[in-house]
Symmetry: C2
Subunit: 374 residues, 2 copies
């Protein structure tokens, strides 16, 4: 076996000689480089460029040309996950030295994490990891098979315990990938569970676009992408919220779950908050924990008021409404809370800093998950 | 509910007004555009650029500036999956109008599919889809938990049938993502099974880098990427091949599988072919189907010859060696076949066109999977 290993190594040399080294090279520049003081240095080899800068969630970082390699360093940054790109002579591109990108609707950007408190929580640590599965469930209500992300906590496969289920919904333009890719939900759940802050639970991340069977790249449209919100809705088709029973049925039929109200939670961001409002109202004896992240409901109709009161009578342990003070939806969220006050529906309200951003939604998940199923 | 839907739509307008439209726009250019004659048009908005071209597996396509948008069209292309990027004034970037990329070792490129025979096989079709799970198995041999991709065929969750298992290994610099991302293994298996060409089976895609717990981005190194082949191997650590028993144990303990030799297959490409050679030899009563894609073994030692003969005596239904005529490993593969001839070990040899490429490996998988478990 040692001999074979040495053979493998020598073959890599052969492969390199055959011109495959381009695959294996990160280019001449290390970028991004997170420095001990939490500043970040960006580098780009572009000898012929006239100007270059890095722009993104860390702000704008001017870069200067040193022997053909442009380089710039940010100030010390808060521990967080940041998305960014380069602008070179007016042209935007991702960092060619960084293999990591995330997609937010149709925007694909380079990404890095500054370690520390939040950055560590969003990172893969030396803790037991849950499994992440992409499965297809049947939705008779929507008339199609649809894709679902299921996180099962570490120990699920090898044990026989039953787990509570947390349904987690994305916003407009998102899909069943968003909470994993932009929300770092697997890392957050792994770390919260390992730290004893959240109980082990199954997290189910749905695709809330009724016209779409799966996320971009995983549907029959393959590599022909169109953001979900620009699709024409078929007038005769049910809404995603109407079809939520199909999701619950699939999960409870196929996973070892505690199938009772005290073991079900639902939360969503933005459009997903509106869906969370609608689902918790329309299935009023289903969830003990409800979270509306940066979004709201609308209960002007008597029928909806009655459903909310039915839910209240059935008992809800937590109905959390949380929104950033700079969020463009805040006035509508406040209007919804006035409607809840009118019918004396109890809820918990949290106003945070910031706006309608994944930075907030990661924090909201981090705060919400530890309060479930206790 | 209708009202809420209308509210959602109006909120998208509000969000757009608040400057989030950048997320939802694919930019002014449709690119790439696959035309009815299988030519492909590339477009890039770069008003200030002096030159632009598209380069990749489809060859080089010159682009011309029309009112600030560079455009160029390839000749008609064979139905296939293609990776490409743009070169603008000497700077390489991915197509900003295309949200789809794949990573090959440390090279991230834009990707498209030209439909037709192979392109359709590599695409998501209107057929039942298997589940794809990323799970963590315990490897006592390597002293760590390690990440594994498991494809379970459509119907696995809802049924109680037991399935055969096909272990599929990547090459140097690859990982447990490669066969899915570059190899389109989930699409190929879905389509072969739905078409009745392959029997329903579980496909297990391992990470063959003994020093690595998981693919780039999914290990404790998080977004600090270093290709696996440049790592220092710890001298005291077992090889991946030595640890393969841990993979089999995890799979057979946790999935509904037929746990006998006639229901196990193994194949790998390049470094994975060398590992397939070693594993099938060192576990000589384990696999009825063995595939070496663009790679070979080495049986100069008497001990290894004996193991090969043991395997032969136990019975192997298919020992396939397949390699492209332009592959830099072909002379070594031929040398291995001479060694097999010397000990009269039966195998099947297939020489194809092409070289050491994913294009070939997708075709090899397409040809190999239908021959298993029949």
């Amino acid at each position: 076996m040692k001999k074979l290993f040495i053979l493998c190594v020598s073959l890599m040399g052969v492969a390199a000689a055959f011109g495959q080294e381009a695959l294996w090279s990160k280019g001449p520049s290390k970028s991004p480089q997170v420095n001990p003081d939490r500043s970040v240095t960006f580098r780009l080899a572009a000898p012929d460029a006239k100007s270059a800068k890095a722009v993104g969630e860390m702000g704008e970082v001017e870069m200067a040309n040193k022997d053909g390699v442009w380089e710039g360093t940010s100030g010390p940054l808060e521990s967080e996950l940041y998305r960014y790109s380069f602008i070179v002579d007016g042209l935007e591109l991702n960092d060619p030295s960084n293999v990591y990108t995330t997609r937010d609707v149709s925007s694909v950007k380079s990404v890095f994490i500054v370690p520390g408190e939040k950055g560590d929580l969003y990172s893969i640590q030396d803790v037991p990891h849950g499994s992440v599965s992409k499965v297809w469930y049947d939705s008779p209500t929507l008339g199609m098979k649809r894709r679902l992300t299921v996180y099962t906590p570490a120990g699920y496969e090898s044990g026989d315990e039953k787990y509570p289920v947390f349904y987690l919904l994305h916003g407009a333009g998102g899909d069943e990938e968003s909470w994993m890719e932009l929300g770092r939900a697997a890392q957050i759940m792994d770390n919260l569970i390992a730290g004893g802050k959240a109980v082990p639970m199954i997290v189910v991340i749905t695709n809330g676009n009724a016209e779409q069977e799966a996320a971009a790249g995983y549907s029959r449209e393959n590599f022909n992408y169109e953001p979900a919100m620009f699709r024409q809705r078929r007038g005769d088709r049910a809404l995603f919220t109407d079809s939520f029973r199909d999701v619950i049925k699939y999960v409870e039929d196929n996973y070892r779950v505690k199938a009772d109200k005290s073991s079900r939670a639902i939360a969503g961001l933005s459009m997903g908050a509106m869906q969370t409002f609608a689902i918790s109202k329309d299935y009023p004896d289903t969830f003990d924990y409800v979270g509306l992240f940066s979004g709201m409901g609308e209960i002007s109709r008597a029928e909806d008021k009655q459903k909310m009161l039915d839910m209240q009578n059935n008992g809800v342990k937590l109905y959390l409404i949380i929104c950033g003070k700079d969020d463009f939806l805040l006035p509508r969220v406040q209007n919804y809370m006035r409607q809840l006050d009118e019918i004396k529906f109890p809820y918990e309200w949290r106003e945070t800093g910031g706006g309608h951003t994944w930075r907030n939604w990661r924090e909201y998940l981090t705060g919400f998950a530890p309060r479930l199923f206790k």
